[in-house]
Amino acid sequence: MKSLESINEFVIKFANVNGTGSASANNLFAKALFRMGLPVSPKNIFPSNIQGLPTWYEVRVSEKGYLGRRGGVDIMLSVNPQSMPQDVREVEPGGYFIYDSTKPLDLRLHRKDINIIGIPLTRICNEEYEDPRQRQLFKNVIYVGALAALLDIDFAVLTELVADQFKGKEKLVLPNIHALELGHQYVKANLDCPLGIRVRKSDKVGDKILLDGNTALGLGAIYGGATVAAWYPITPSTSVVDAYERYAKRLRIDPGTGRQNFAIVQAEDELAAIGMVIGAGWNGARAFTATSGPGLSLMSEFLGLAYFAEIPTVLFDVQRAGPSTGMPTRTQQSDVLSAAYASHGDTKQVLLFPSTPRECFDFGALSFDLADRLQTPIILMTDLDLGMNDNMSDPLEWDDERKYDRGKVLTAEDLDNMERFGRYLDVDGDAICYRTYPGTHPEKGAFFTRGTSRDEYAIYTERGEEYEKNMLRLLAKWETIKSYVPRPEIIRSEQQTEMAVLYYGTSEEASREALDYLAADGVHLNAMRVRAFPFNDEVEQFMADHEQVFVIEQNRDAQLRTLLMAEFELGPDKLKSVLCFDGTPISARNIRKQILMHLPGYNVTPLRRERVVGQGE
């Protein structure tokens, strides 16, 4: 058997039991590599459960800077007997399977084509600790210490990290370092190390940060001036509001009075949550809610009201696998269509597709400017993968000169200087009308907001021509919106090509890696990352410029492709789907394989063992 060998390019996966404190130890591992200057991409693959079920933590380490899922596992660290059979199978030939050898490995699980490495983690723990809770927690830290020896991780980086992690709780620093040493010493004394796969200090991280998208969104809401948050708990969006609250309590308490410059209301359900956001937006506060698919379904009636009555509304949709309850802790991009046309009647909703924590922050803050400027719901579409995993990202930045764009709002003085205010009167020709906040002027500017049809002066009407005029103005506004939403990011291939890929959100990293693989295969593709709906002119031009476009997305029904066909009246032949919807983030190998399958002229030889779309691992 030839063992895998690599420095700074590999995939390691931890198989744990949830509720045992493994997450913080695994996080310690990933962050140590990050501090050694290595790009890392950790992903939690966890069950919808609090304690006792299998949970995995996969870390992509790539000095080349590939941050998407590659596919395949080079090193499996297995401390969960429940999932062991599956975990052994998943290791690449030549890879490494590290297990707790306190009990001998089931003979049926042995594989001749991989390295099997036993470390008696439970025994080391039991000899060292009396307290059962300590035994459980420190077992995780011990294996991180063991990995440090096996992979040649700088031990000083680990101890420094522990000291940072327990700042304020210094009593915990030494016991954790001791546990790291226990694992480290055992491996040094008993095993050949380091392995063929190992790490070495690098300088590929620069000033980057490691942050989850939900925290970045919460911060975006703080910086974007959101004062009202209304929400209902739902995985995987809950940590958006948690982060907003955490930072608001630090950064938004009035120094003079000690009072809150924000209000968070945990609503009775998602219907109420979006209702509160709309009420606050109507009344001139910047407000948002965060939810996931089931919440989006419940909110759709209100989204129609906000679209039709033109009320600034911000919704962060952290998508998960549907339909119905689906797989609540697995990722997907499957709310695209239901968000784009949310609500009955003719509606079109503005969507933003961030793909990094930095973009979550930027788009999060931008959502409030767009909502005020465009007077319509802004739905930011992120997903569990981006929202709940630490992602390497450009640092966050804020221009202190920046002013909030509150859009077209009339003051009392404006009202005094005008003849007659018409809430739905297109004064400027951009189909965006002026509005007033309640309480602005004693005599002028009051109007009735309603979900029923009305004329330009907000007076109820059932006259067909008035209704039609208003609906056409909303369509004209849709055209205006195209110039405000983020433009796509286009990457040209070094070689002339009439083929392209199109992706959005968390498919970015894996797609870009796949493009490199494909270029090596001799397949050259231009690429476009769509960042918003409505699609602006550049998206249209790009579609026109290519014969064949592969649309990469993480849902079954090729939802963005449908949207492209509907909005541009493109034929289905032009657009080919590359899909992944098993609840795990799409991988580069999977993308490469699917694109090659669409190209009969090319020689399809899979790189290694691979997953095909639709199959679980």
Partner: protein
């Protein structure tokens, strides 16, 4: 169609402290059926706001869907209005109130909008003691869809169609008391002398104030077998007592014999004088209020008037400790922590 009221008014109409006549508090001409109880309630709202000298533009009127929810168009034409989604007015008011604590929020709903589709939001607005007046125009039926029984229709009561309602009624004041409402009253659209002071008291109350107003539907539910008809309510209404409302600015001149009246100072300084109160009701005791309501109901009567009040309760803003400046007036300097703070946050993420 909404019609504008003619602007011409009698020149000698009385003006209030702000120089406004009652006409300044009116809205568009009602499109409800002639004789609809809801129009009388609108009239009472107009009178209460005028007599309280409220600035019309500092009131926000919000509603759900249904005949009752159409009525905000017919009063307070200088106030912003919001006719939202069926049963969801409380959430819209919650958000609006969070955005600007300085306005007076007047929610108008119906029995379908509140006791059926909107039951959840009604309950939770009460639970949070949202600072608002919540008026239910309660006619026991769905008027806009031609008279189906609603959840507040009494068991055995029959609308124009003639079939007796087989289900028990949801009693909104009873439910509100159970949920912890801090101001609960019931009235009758045909009794302005009772309703107007109750609306004034509700508007001065800090916290959630419910007034359930029985408001007959002349078209579908005003027949002899209905318990929400004008005739039935007139015969069966049983007042808890009389409520006089004395605004903060007015000196109290009349005096009553001790033992017959009780005065309560509201948090805004105005005074409620309760007279001729029923002997077995202490409107400041939730338990007593629940007992009185139940006793009245079991004897086939409709208890009206002020049923319960807790004048010292903390509303949602107090609970959340939100800024006294309305959140919608805060700007970048209050809200945005700036790049320096962000760079420190970045540093903690490396």
């Amino acid at each position: 169609m909404s019609y504008q009221q003619p602007k011409f008014r009698h020149p000698s109409l009385p003006v209030n402290d702000l120089g406004y006549t009652r006409a300044d508090y009116e809205g568009a001409i009602s499109t409800l059926c002639a004789g609809c109880g809801h129009d009388s309630i609108s009239g009472s709202i107009v009178r209460a706001c005028h007599e309280l000298s409220l600035e019309p533009h500092k009131i926000a009127k919000l509603s759900g869907i249904g005949c009752s929810s159409k009525s905000p168009t017919y009063f307070l034409g200088k106030s912003h209005g919001f006719n939202s989604v069926h049963g969801r007015m409380p959430s819209v008011v919650t958000g609006a109130a969070m955005a600007n604590r300085d306005l007076l929020y007047l929610g108008v709903s119906g029995d379908g909008d509140t006791a059926s589709i909107g039951m959840g939001q009604f309950a939770h607005a009460i639970r949070r003691n949202l600072n608002m007046v919540y008026i239910v125009m309660n006619n026991g039926c769905y008027g806009l869809t031609k008279g189906q029984d609603s959840a507040t229709a009494d068991e055995g009561s029959a609308s124009k169609k003639g079939d007796p309602n087989p289900f028990g009624a949801i009693d909104l004041p009873g439910l509100a008391l159970q949920l912890g409402a801090t101001f609960v009253a019931r009235s009758f659209s045909g009794d302005k002398e009772q309703l107007v002071p109750l609306i004034k008291a509700a508007m001065s109350h800090r916290g959630f104030a419910l007034i359930d107003v029985v408001s007959p539907c002349v078209t579908f539910n005003n027949n002899s077998a209905s318990t929400k008809s004008y005739e039935f309510v007139r015969e069966h209404a049983e007042a808890t007592g009389t409520v006089d409302f004395v605004p903060m600015r007015e000196e109290i001149t009349t005096s009553y014999e001790p033992g017959h009246s009780q005065e309560v100072t509201m948090h805004d300084g105005s005074v409620l004088r309760l007279r001729k109160m029923a002997e077995d009701l202490d409107p400041f005791d939730r338990g007593s209020a629940m007992m009185a309501l139940e006793a009245s109901r079991s004897s086939g009567q409709i208890l009206t008037g002020l049923i319960y009040m807790d004048k010292d309760s903390a509303d949602l803003h107090e609970v959340l400790n939100t800024s006294r400046r309305p959140l919608n007036t805060l700007a970048e300097e209050d809200l945005c922590p700036g790049d320096k703070v962000l760079q420190n946050i970045n540093q903690s993420l490396r």
